[in-house]
Symmetry: C2
Subunit: 214 residues, 2 copies
Amino acid sequence: MSKVKVAAFSISLDGFGAGPGQDLKNPLGVRGHELHSWLFPTETFQRMTGKSSGSVGVDNDFAAQSFENVGAWIIGRNMFGPIRGPWQDDSWKGWWGHNPPYHTPVFVLTHHPRADLTMEGGTTFHFVTDGPEAALARATEAANGKDIRIGGGVSVLRQYLALKLIDEMHLAVSPVLLGEGEHLFGGLDLPKLGYVHGKTAPGDGALHVAIRKM
Amino acid sequence: MSKVKVAAFSISLDGFGAGPGQDLKNPLGVRGHELHSWLFPTETFQRMTGKSSGSVGVDNDFAAQSFENVGAWIIGRNMFGPIRGPWQDDSWKGWWGHNPPYHTPVFVLTHHPRADLTMEGGTTFHFVTDGPEAALARATEAANGKDIRIGGGVSVLRQYLALKLIDEMHLAVSPVLLGEGEHLFGGLDLPKLGYVHGKTAPGDGALHVAIRKM
């Protein structure tokens, strides 16, 4: 059964899922990279960046699981790039180079239409302008029985949480205070939306928290 | 050197330090007691409630440390009781019976004057109507070189955080989603106020987080 899941999504102790002021130099917002310091040393991440080894253990287990059985991704336009407003041209192809780490169809939520963009390694970006439910319908079809991973950013997660469309969420609570940025849960009443917490597991770099829909 | 500290203060995964709707039946707000499920089984807490034993380990270590070297407490009026507005009479003497678990002077922040209230076991409640800085000055004098513990609730912690008067804070992040209640950090920019995170330690029932002033 295909699941809609969030995995390996990092938040700070004060609840921010990204720093403020995203731009070309700060893809995750100012200080946003600190949220992911648990992820970077893991073998899973190191291998994605061409290294031969990295840390193993709880953090790596969650990093590895986050990529298992994913048949399609949904991401927001700001996770795809720093450009705002209409696409000026097709030169921006994401942060990730010619061979992005998705290797599946990726549905990018945007208000501005753009042609499909096929990359190396099996990643195709599809730009969806008719909203999160339409994106999920297309991603579900593309996933062909595998899971749909909602990648982020914060705004996209909040939309899917509010629509009660997320089945499982794995958060990594990082021991960092950001103070400002994009708050994941502010103004969302998760229990009222039908979400409950599951298991927690401490890693070397973060506390891993499971949340699921009842 | 006397420190101003917060210790064993529990928050939910979504950042709430108390549930909504505090009243006589819900001293910690609705579902607020779930925040403290890491604390209740500990030997420290069990002994405070007259039992002979309880759990030991990381959670109990933090519970025990929270009471060490405390010379005075500061708490908010809502932590003292459910009554709002002027004191009708002196019948309310706190939630804790004749022998409260403080055993020191306790300075209660309130807008409504009331005479000192001396309890068994060394606890005296002093009602302070001239604000958090005045309460801290009195508590510091009363503590006589020992630490001042800011007990809560959320509003009181937020006031002292905003005033940059807290030296150390130990939070217990409980694996619970409350969805509503009193949010500890909302609207406060901790790094901008000069606070940084310190060590984290996973316990069986909560993730223990240290925050301190730079």
